[in-house]
């Protein structure tokens, strides 16, 4: 299934940071949702700013328009404010993109666990994210940092517990 671009992607002014405040707000909102949906579609969890410039998201080659670096920073800042983005370094070159919040991930996993009657079982993290059983689930292929955060959220809720084992971490669902 190929990614469906929103109508804004084909609208040249979309790639110019609008001076009009109201227009800009709408523009940024559209950018945020585009970035998130693109990352969701391609299961991207981290972004590198330099690479992003050349990525089709910010660079519409067919239309010969691309978002400037300053504008990309503005979009990322907007995402960060909304809680969908976290900078990995002080220089703001790499970031984590959370197109789904950890709590949501946790819920998804817990649903799968209970649906399959595997409550009270112990799983290694690897099994959860890369096991054959989870193949086809949305959280399949989840990166470890996000996996951990989601399980931590569940743990706070009392629905799971993270266990440290000899060769890594695991989790028990209640």
């Amino acid at each position: 299934m190929s990614f469906e671009w929103p109508w804004q992607y084909h609208f040249p002014p979309f790639f110019t940071l609008q001076p009009n405040v109201d227009t800009r707000q709408k523009q940024l909102a559209a950018w945020c949702s585009l970035v998130l949906s693109y990352c969701r579609h391609h299961k991207l969890y981290t972004l590198d700013v330099m690479e992003a410039q050349e990525s089709p998201v910010f660079n519409n080659k067919k239309m010969e328009r691309k978002l400037s670096v300053e504008a990309i920073q503005v979009v990322f800042e907007e995402l960060r404010k909304k809680g969908n983005l976290e900078w990995l370094d002080k220089n703001k070159t790499r970031c984590l993109v959370m197109w789904r919040q950890p709590e949501e991930w946790g819920k998804l996993m817990y649903q799968w666990v209970s649906k399959n009657g595997m409550v009270n079982s112990v799983f290694t993290l690897y099994e959860l994210s890369n096991g054959d059983d989870t193949h086809g689930e949305e959280f399949h292929g989840l990166e470890e940092w996000m996996l951990l955060r989601s399980l931590q959220a569940l743990q706070t809720d009392g629905k799971a517990e993270i266990i440290t084992m000899d060769d890594g971490k695991g989790v028990k669902f209640f």
């Binding site: 609208f11 040249p12 110019t16 609008q18 109201d22």
Partner: protein, 384 residues
């Protein structure tokens, strides 16, 4: 010692040096003056004293100031002296080293002798009074008196300065004289204007004898002479009947062109159009501007509008801002059916100067959004 003036020590044209003596110290009354030893010079007109070491330190006193003088014999450890009693200083005396002194006499102390000769010569000069027969101009005193001898020695420069000053005063006088005539001319001109105005009113009153036509002709003669109102043009530049008539003319003339151009034309365009149409009796830019300024007050369907950038346009009154924006919007959206066809600015019939502020206005209101890329700046209807 307050009778002395600073001097440059140079003799005047008719002044002759009589005798000079080194090693002379000055005394203010009975007190030693805080100066070094110097040279005392006696001329036909003055008694001059100059510091041996610092030649710029030079004092003089006219011989006419001397009432009488006497010798004071040398004593043990004391040199021979000449005591000179002086008149009070004249009010026009040039500044000297001392503002006031409690003594009205001075002493010359001859450390290296020579007082006998000096005394003899001084007597001669005081008897002959040669300064009265051959008067010289006031010796040029240059510099200000300070306790430390410091004054400019250069007569040349001072002389040049004086000449320059005189020349400047002369020029000043000439200019004011010249302008005197001009101000007289202005007065006459005002009289003439009053006269012509009174004639015009008289003509108007006697309406039966002279036709309206001729009155207008007479007025146009005045106008062509430039005496529309020269005296009051500065204060009342745009109030004349001429400008009002002109405004009316513009109102009629510009309706059609303005409609064609979407209701707005730059003032420069108006100027070209109007003058081209007139053929003869062209308008000056100033007249056009003044006429346009009156458009609104005369309730004509046009008005002059000045943008923030200073651009001046004439626009149809019917064009409110919203209408303008809406029309800008239409123009833009017509040509933007898909993203590859824009260049709305170029394709529009309006000139860039008119159009761009309108576009910015529309953008500010939120009707348009901009597309800034390497290809240039474009505007699209705001679909956000």
């Amino acid at each position: 010692m307050d009778r002395f003036s600073w001097s440059n020590g140079l003799l005047e044209i008719d002044e002759t040096l009589v005798v000079q003596q080194r090693g002379v110290r000055l005394y203010d009354g009975d007190d030693k003056v805080k100066m070094e030893l110097g040279v005392a010079l006696l001329s036909t007109h003055r008694l001059i004293w100059r510091d041996i070491k610092n030649h710029e330190c030079c004092l003089s006193i006219p011989l006419s100031q001397i009432i009488f003088f006497e010798e004071q014999a040398a004593g043990i450890g004391k040199s021979a002296k000449i005591v000179i009693h002086l008149h009070p200083s004249s009010p026009s005396k040039e500044p000297g080293p001392f503002q006031n002194s409690k003594y009205s006499y001075i002493k010359l102390s001859f450390k290296e002798h020579g007082q006998i000769e000096f005394y003899r010569r001084l007597t001669e000069e005081m008897t002959q009074k040669r300064w009265e027969t051959t008067p010289v101009s006031q010796p040029l005193s240059s510099g200000t008196g300070t306790q430390v001898c410091r004054k400019t020695r250069a007569v040349g420069i001072v002389g040049i300065e004086r000449k320059i000053e005189e020349k400047r005063k002369e020029t000043d006088k000439n200019i004011s004289e010249a302008f005197e005539d001009l101000s007289k001319l202005m007065v006459k001109a005002k009289e003439m204007v009053e006269l012509s105005r009174s004639i015009a009113t008289k003509i108007k009153d006697k309406q039966g004898d002279i036709t309206e036509d001729e009155t207008i002709r007479f007025k146009s003669y005045l106008l062509s002479m430039g005496i529309a109102n020269p005296v009051t043009r500065e204060t009342h530049g745009s109030g004349t009947r001429y400008h009002m008539q002109l405004a009316k003319q513009l109102g009629d003339m510009l309706q059609a062109p303005l409609e064609e151009r979407g209701g707005m034309m730059a003032l420069t365009e108006v100027y070209c159009l109007v003058n081209r149409a007139r053929g003869m009796e062209l308008l000056s830019p100033e007249d056009l501007l003044n006429a346009c300024k009156m458009l609104e007050s005369m309730r004509l369907p046009l008005r002059l509008r000045v943008f923030d950038s200073g651009v001046m346009v004439v626009q149809l009154q019917s064009h409110s801002e919203e209408e303008m924006i809406a029309s800008a919007l239409d123009n833009v959206s017509d040509l933007n059916t898909n993203y590859s066809s824009s260049l709305s600015i170029l394709l529009s019939s309006l000139s860039f100067l008119n159009y761009f502020p309108r576009l910015l206005l529309a953008e500010k209101v939120g009707h348009l959004c901009r597309d800034d890329s390497v290809e240039g700046l474009r505007f699209y209807p705001n679909r956000f």
